[in-house]
Symmetry: C2
Subunit: 149 residues, 2 copies
């Protein structure tokens, strides 16, 4: 896990244990990392599958993983950034690392399912989905190297 790059925040989230089923926080309007509300959606990711790369120009992502385990890889190609050409990698899961990952526009993001079956990503997005505000770059193209372990 690298140091946090500019435009990325990781916020520990509360899990309130309950014998009937836990309550797990995701995002409150009053929190520092909240900017605006546009849309909420889920993106499932199968074990071993990778979605990305995608770079948003306007959308702030607020990502929570309520089920499974997902590895997020962020690549910084902002030439004026102190983390230019660097990667940040985060593995989120409800049982081991229940945190909210906030990613501001301008960074390349990919994610991979690292849990059996479908893992579940929740994104509380600052704007509604708009295909024109994001760039994509296939992982398979190799244009942006995808770090593996």
């Amino acid at each position: 896990m690298g140091q946090l790059m500019q435009g990325v925040a990781l916020t520990p989230l509360k899990i309130i244990t309950n014998e009937l089923g836990n309550v797990m926080h995701a995002l409150k309007k009053s929190e520092d990392t909240f900017t605006s509300f546009g849309e909420v959606y889920f993106s499932l990711i199968k074990e071993g599958a990778r979605k990305g790369w995608k770079k948003h120009h306007d959308m702030v992502l607020n990502i929570v993983v309520p089920y499974g385990k997902i590895r997020f890889t962020i690549f910084d190609d902002r030439v004026d950034s102190s983390s230019y050409k660097q990667y940040s990698i985060f593995e989120l899961s409800p049982s081991e690392n229940y945190q909210r990952l906030t990613i501001h526009p301008g960074l390349w993001v990919a994610f991979e399912g690292i849990y059996k079956g479908d893992s579940i990503l929740l994104n509380i997005s600052s704007i509604e989905h708009d295909p024109n505000e994001a760039e994509t770059c296939s992982i398979d193209s190799g244009i942006i190297e995808y770090p593996t372990f």
Copy 2:
């Protein structure tokens, strides 16, 4: 499934199938049933467990079930309501009935896990959690009858 009572809305949600993992809509700011954004949280519910009854005075609930299957029971004790003393029951799941359940203040709500392990409820709430804006009434007390099948 009964007719919708006043203050309750059910909205079909899109699932965009993808071989890497589906994308499942939850709520957009521009949708009719959106009122305001306060907080997003998850509530898990074990198979056979029941949470409730709870009646909110201010909170509008926007409920989506991304995993498992949950039965929601709504009881109307509003004396001036056309559905006074009636129940509405909804079973939501991503595979069989992927819809958003919007519940306005003033109705009693209980829910039960009807899938193996933990089912997952997402609530996109119109206000932040505030224990003073909700009443509770234990299901076990029998004060409000809990309908079973």
